[in-house]
């Protein structure tokens, strides 16, 4: 009589088959980042080198930066595991922990978000914030509330951006030579218009950078990986084909930004289709749509939740961008929505199971009402962009 191992039903698991488990998902995620990495290297390194504006070693820097992003976060997590778990701090158990921690992905995404002339020490600070504070202190992979890479990016963006600018900023060696770039990224120009209250137009927003096709290809100034919609789309199609992400999450997010931008454009007298197109092709909307809002840990799990999340996020992005005067509204709105991913997940789980019956109805109506309020506020406020917050201040005073 043999004694057999125990186990829990079901005894068949997809994950036990080769190439169908979380490791594969993460590998596919890395593969999806490959076109983006290559394009950013091409745009910021090879092309500039071919133009003769930088030397060979400078050409390798974008690639070095991206690889270092991944490498540093792995090393930092290794140290974290060593320090926090004194009993199992040998090579074997730490490398086991590292294989199921997938540290390399936030590091690489973080590097892709940063401008080309980011000094290594700034990258180190960002990686530290991302992996240690954003991920490990929350309990490691699967427990983090904020998207680690995004947290690192946002905090470094608010605190250390001066050092990046001092070191050279976002322009690569060829872009600085173009006078019309006017020392600002496309959305930076938009922010200038927001600040001064002048009307914007195709000629002022898009033409300095060529045409919208350039925005699609990605030959505009910006962070390393966020500019090329084309490369991001290739990665996104790969992820959808591999069933890693749901196609509707990015589509709904981009669609929300597109439609709201369109409405706002019409309201302020820019009815051209170029304006919403410009709006979705700048400021990392595409990058966030494919690589950030589909990031499984920090976004809702169930399909309805993903839809709700994308809708809210798109609205908040537009709100922050046009009303709140934060040109890079994507990162901030995403960090904010990361917090709300948990209640949205629960609410949408209830709605999905129960349908529009009690108690699902109450949760659904709460979500719906909040959504309608945000959308309405965004549209109304952005018509008169600069006095948007006055009514709120007035209400405070009355109360």
């Amino acid at each position: 009589m043999a004694r057999f191992a125990g186990g829990k039903a079901p005894f068949l698991r997809i994950s036990d088959q080769k190439g169908k488990n979380t490791n594969t998902i993460m590998r596919d995620f890395l593969i999806a980042l490959l076109p983006v990495v290559l394009f950013s290297w091409y745009k910021n390194g090879i092309q500039v080198f071919l133009d003769g504006n930088i030397n060979f070693f400078e050409m390798l820097y974008p690639l070095f930066l991206i690889i270092m992003g991944g490498f540093l976060s792995v090393v930092m997590e290794g140290i974290f595991f060593y320090v926090t778990d004194k009993k199992n701090n040998n090579l074997k158990s730490i490398s086991h922990k590292l294989t199921t921690s997938y540290a390399v992905i936030p590091g690489i995404i973080l590097a892709l978000l940063l401008p080309i002339y980011t000094p290594i020490w700034v990258l180190m600070v960002a990686t530290f914030i991302a992996t240690i504070i954003g991920k490990m202190l929350f309990g490691g992979f699967g427990h983090n509330i904020f998207n680690p890479a995004l947290l690192g990016y946002v905090i470094v963006g608010f605190t250390l951006s001066g050092f990046i600018t001092d070191a050279g900023g976002v322009f690569n060696g060829s872009e600085v030579l173009i006078d019309s770039y006017a020392s600002a990224t496309p959305l930076g120009i938009f922010a200038q218009f927001s600040n001064t209250g002048e009307a914007f137009s195709f000629a002022t927003l898009v033409e300095p950078y060529g045409n919208l096709w350039n925005f699609f290809i990605g030959t505009i100034p910006g962070g390393l990986g966020e500019t090329s919609a084309l490369a991001i789309l290739i990665g996104g199609i790969w992820l959808v084909a591999r069933k890693i992400i749901k196609w509707y999450t990015p589509v709904i997010y981009i669609g929300t930004v597109f439609i709201l931008s369109w409405i706002i454009g019409i309201n302020v007298g820019e009815s051209g289709i170029w304006f919403p197109t410009y709006s979705i092709l700048t400021g990392g909307v595409m990058f966030a749509a494919v690589f950030m809002i589909t990031e499984p840990v920090t976004t809702p799990t169930n399909p309805l939740g993903k839809v709700v999340f994308a809708l809210f996020l798109g609205t908040l992005t537009v709100l922050f961008r046009f009303v709140g005067n934060l040109p890079e509204g994507v990162a901030t709105s995403l960090i904010l929505m990361n917090i709300f991913a948990i209640p949205i997940d629960t609410y949408s789980g209830i709605i999905r199971t129960r349908g529009f019956k009690k108690p699902g109805l109450s949760f659904a109506s709460v979500l719906f009402v909040i959504f309608i309020i945000i959308v309405a506020y965004t549209i109304i406020a952005s018509v008169n962009m600069y006095t948007a917050f006055l009514p709120i201040i007035n209400i405070w005073q009355v109360i």
């Binding site: 186990g7 829990k8 039903a9 005894f11 068949l12 036990d16 789980g349 199971t353």
Partner: protein, 433 residues
């Protein structure tokens, strides 16, 4: 809607393992152990140690709020009442009968003459007295279904067998196609319905062939192939596929009764020859078995004997790196010691080596929610269970779960999520009380 579309998924069948051999008879084991437990009810033994029993003799029964009778599956002497491993994963008392190899039949087993004149009540009584239960795995006494007051118009014979590895229903049908149709007809009459539908998987063309040969004789029987997905054998799914209607708790609400195909075959014998439920088909399969086969064996047979008939375990099988599963691989139970006895619900024993790897944390990919056939959100239920949040468990409709195991099956991080959900159901039941 895109976010509300769970339709089950196709699972690699692995049924060819067991289809290499036809249904093999193993009717004369040296001794059998009839468990004194059915589902979680204790049965009262009706015999004493030393008694001689005949095939079909009532040896244990349970009569409190429902009636359930167990019969001797072989003739011989009652040797003892001792503990054996049961498919529920526990050790239970069982009546040991030593075979005298005479195959003496009980007096009650005889050809029934007035088969076509039996009333509905008589048919239900036969079903109860023969101890017929759902042989798909639930083990629910079938006659209770037929005592419904609802107006039944369709009886569905479930020959889908959606669990991987299992072929016992399939091979049973191939061997006794006419019995299936007869049993289905009697069930239709017992239910007072006017239609009977046999549902099977669309790729099982052999069932279709065999049954089509006989449909002229049984014009009221309809064939209904269903898609090759898991859990296509789920009652709700079949009912929806066949009638297009859905129900909330019991199929009788919409005038449907669903019965397993093996039950129908056994019922045909019970009606015509008054043979009670004393034997059933069982698949002994899995990668750990040398030569997997499906047996037709008396209840109470030791599975180890059947495994020996299959040539034992494959060479070099490390039992500590293998599961010994009673039932299907999706819903079955791991047994720690291969000292299991067959009962009426055990359709298969699977011996399957497994691999372990570094399981990561749940990454929240949402595949479990995608595949859930009842639109639950297993990750949320798991979180609610870990927080012991009974209210949230109720909001999340946890009790709708039928533990098909798909969420754990698709999980890329090997999270025991089905287990958490079942614990959540237990908590909800306790909390509700």
């Amino acid at each position: 809607m895109i976010f509300h579309k769970a339709k089950g998924i196709q699972i690699e069948g692995k049924k060819e393992l067991c289809k290499r051999h036809p249904l093999a008879d193993y009717l004369n084991p040296d001794s059998v152990y009839i468990p004194l437990v059915h589902r979680n009810l204790k049965l009262e033994p009706q015999v004493k140690v030393g008694d001689l029993v005949k095939i079909g003799q009532v040896i244990a029964q349970f009569k409190t709020y429902a009636s359930f009778i167990t019969h001797a599956s072989i003739s011989g002497e009652v040797k003892s009442i001792k503990k054996v491993w049961h498919s529920t994963g526990k050790m239970v008392d069982a009546i040991e009968i030593e075979n005298d190899h005479k195959n003496t039949l009980d007096e009650s087993i005889k050809e029934r003459k007035n088969v076509n004149e039996l009333t509905r009540e008589e048919l239900i009584d036969i079903m109860r007295d023969a101890g017929i239960t759902g042989m798909g795995g639930a083990g629910f006494p079938s006659y209770i279904k037929y005592q419904t007051k609802e107006n039944i118009d369709t009886v569905i014979i479930n020959a889908v067998e959606c669990e991987p590895y299992l072929t016992c229903d399939y091979q049973f049908i191939i061997k006794f196609p006419e019995k299936l149709l007869k049993g289905a007809t009697y069930m239709m009459r017992a239910a007072g319905a006017d239609e009977v539908v046999v549902a099977y998987k669309v790729y099982n063309t052999k069932i279709e062939e065999e049954l089509n040969k006989l449909t002229e004789k049984y014009p009221h029987v309809k064939l209904s192939p269903v898609k090759d997905i898991y859990p296509a054998g789920w009652e709700k799914y079949i009912v929806e596929q066949v009638t297009g209607k859905t129900y909330t708790s019991l199929p009788a609400e919409i005038g449907v009764i669903v019965n397993n195909s093996a039950t129908a075959i056994v019922y045909a014998d019970a009606v015509e020859k008054n043979i009670p439920l004393i034997s059933r088909p069982i698949s002994i399969t899995g990668e750990g078995i040398n030569d997997p086969k499906t047996f037709f064996a008396p209840l109470g047979t030791k599975v180890s004997e059947l495994i020996e008939q299959c040539g034992g375990y494959v060479e070099g099988l490390d039992p500590m790196k293998a599961n010994y599963i009673a039932g299907g691989p999706m819903t079955g139970r791991a047994i720690f010691i291969d000292d299991l006895v067959m009962d009426d619900t055990l359709g298969a024993v699977i011996v399957k080596p497994f691999i372990t790897w570094e399981y990561p944390e749940c990454l929240g990919c949402g595949r479990c929610a995608d595949v859930c056939p009842v639109y639950l959100t297993p990750t949320e239920i798991k979180k609610a269970y870990e927080r012991k949040d009974v209210k949230l468990l109720d909001y999340l409709d946890t009790k709708k779960c039928m533990q098909c195991g798909l969420c754990s099956y698709v999980c890329p991080s090997h999270v025991e999520i089905t287990d958490s959900v079942s614990k959540g159901i237990d908590l909800l039941r306790k909390g509700a009380k």
